[in-house]
Symmetry: C2
Subunit: 346 residues, 2 copies
């Protein structure tokens, strides 16, 4: 028998359907690693319920506890009872920033058996490398005369050469393992300061990767190509906000964000990385047991890859692909999808 | 015979295919207004050729001449020989800002005869009201240690209550003439300063329009719905950057930006408004005489509406719709499309 390694995993089901899909993902990763790895899960009660109960969003003490884990499995954050931004910024973004999750990795793949809203989707298989700790997400805006007719509201995008360069390197490394093409997405004809810096660093790093080709697209043109020619993309490299936008659009063209996993990765290994579906907490269907746990399950596979448990991760990916191909268009409960995928791992 | 009124029109064909499509638009608006209006055109030689020839992008004197007109017909700006941003910011955005074009109006309609890339597009007929003079487009960014590994690049989005409110009012007025629904698009869970202000002002103005319903969507979710359920939208109200992004995506789902017109409108009437296709100068097909002039022709119809020449504008719209229905899928030269539409006006 192989040695079993033990990993500490922080589990944050969060809000809405997050609570329903996360247990399915845990069950699947448990099964896929039988005999290979063991997980000590610590459940963290964070999100809207906790906040409304005792006012806690995320304390430094909780953050320290989370940091002691090898990885984090997150469900979804956001609840209509809480003002927009409070939990997103206080919990989700706070973790991404405090744990230096500078790579937000989001694969988009059209699986066999999934119906794309596009008439002729062709093959879609690209990955978005979204910078995760800079840009407009730093929270550097403010208001003068708030709430009055004289209000001035600002939002400041802050970007550093070091922050961009580590992201660019990650994208080129990833491209080397794929079809060797990187597309930088920005809006450098308007955002000339940040845009020029991204382009300069891409051009510089690219010299070290002679096998990787690269091109550039404005964000607006990118939203067109994702609909008209998604097959052209291999690795898309972009900033925090543009990455947020195009990964949702990409999720839609591959048949719905219900299939799209993501990793918030601290590639330096200093802090635990966090894996979550790209979809939100879906308050409209929460509590009904009908949310699709596939994206959460695929997030657990990304988590396993990150821990170096590639065989187990690939087992999950194959099981998910087979499940989608057979049952993709069938309405099933959250738990049923989990069970069907589990059965394929047996 | 009806009185003919005379209007002064500034024509800026600009770059690439802009030069090929603009004459077709002029010919069509000329024909559609026969006996009703007369136009004195002043051609402005602006864009890459001019800039590369004598370094002029847009002087204050030229801007003053442009201001003396009743409206502006623009082709497209942007050329690969000129660094990205130079012409866009120095010419196109400079005009939008100097002429206080605070409404960037962009209808998206799926015409009969046009093939959408969506498998089941349904009926698509919405208008994006994009704020045109604020946000990340103000050019308020900068760099420290530019060009070095220590570079910090910022981009600042500046938004004023007055700037937002006039845009919000325009959107609600427009909704009253349409299906009476406004969707505010922003990212208020992250950009809380600007996002809160937009939402506050929408809620305030909405009280004066009891017949208009309104809702809110994050920009990322919006890119999903444009692909999965574009029929849900009537009037989309959003800021400068988000409007740039979703109108390109919307252009794609209605069969290509080749059909999408836009107005840069100074609704106060102080300065001339400017009408242009939402597509760019398309250097890849420039000079071949194959660019589709439909968006430019539809822009001339918007221009006529703006001057109050609604009958003539509607004649063009009907001719374009009939032309697309009959010939939408046929490859035709730029001039042929112009001629076919002209023939329908006879
Ligand atoms: C919830 C929100 C703050 C978040 C983001 O904007 O990053 C989400 O949309 C995502 O993409 O993970
Ligand atoms: C050319 C560019 C500056 C412009 C914009 O970003 O507004 C264009 O994309 C548009 O939408 O008109």
């Amino acid at each position: 028998m192989a040695d079993t390694k033990t990993y500490d995993i922080a589990v944050i089901p969060g809000d809405g359907i997050g609570k329903e899909i996360t247990p399915e993902a845990q069950a699947v990763m448990e099964k896929a690693t039988e005999g290979v790895a063991q997980f000590n899960y610590t459940q963290f009660d964070l999100g809207a319920d906790r906040y409304l109960r005792d006012g806690v969003i995320l304390t430094d003490e909780i953050l320290d506890e989370i940091k002691r884990n090898d990885a984090i499995l997150l469900g979804a954050i956001g609840d209509p009872r809480v003002k927009a931004g409070v939990l997103e910024r206080g919990l989700l973004l706070k973790m991404r920033f405090a744990l230096d999750h500078y790579i937000n990795l989001r694969p988009s793949k059209l699986y066999k058996g999934v119906t794309s809203p596009l008439a002729h989707p062709g093959e879609i298989d690209f990955v978005v490398v979204r910078e995760g700790t800079e840009g407009l997400y730093v929270g550097a805006g403010g208001s003068a005369h708030a709430g009055t007719d004289q209000q001035i509201a600002t939002e400041v995008s802050i970007n550093s050469a070091a922050g961009v360069e580590r992201t660019v390197r990650y994208a080129f490394d990833l491209a080397m393992k794929r079809r060797k093409h990187v597309t930088l997405v920005h809006k450098k004809n308007v955002l000339i300061n940040a845009g020029d810096m991204w382009q300069r660093i891409v051009d510089k790093v690219a010299e070290e990767y002679p096998e990787v080709t690269h091109d550039y697209l404005h964000i607006d043109a990118t939203t067109i190509f994702i609909v008209t020619d998604p097959g052209r993309f291999d690795v898309i490299l972009t900033d925090n906000l543009f990455g947020d936008i195009i990964t949702d659009e990409a999720g839609a063209v591959v048949g719905g964000v219900g299939y799209s996993a993501s990793g918030n990765i601290n590639a330096s290994g200093k802090y635990p990385s966090m894996f979550e579906p790209i979809h939100g907490s879906a308050p409209d269907i929460a509590g009904k047991g009908i949310a699709n746990p596939t994206a959460a399950i695929m997030s657990s596979a990304m988590l396993l890859h990150h821990l170096g448990l590639d065989d187990a991760a690939e087992k999950i990916e194959r099981a998910v692909e087979a499940d989608i191909e057979e049952n993709g268009s069938t309405a099933r409960s959250t738990h049923q999808v989990g069970q069907d995928i589990l059965a394929r791992l047996a």
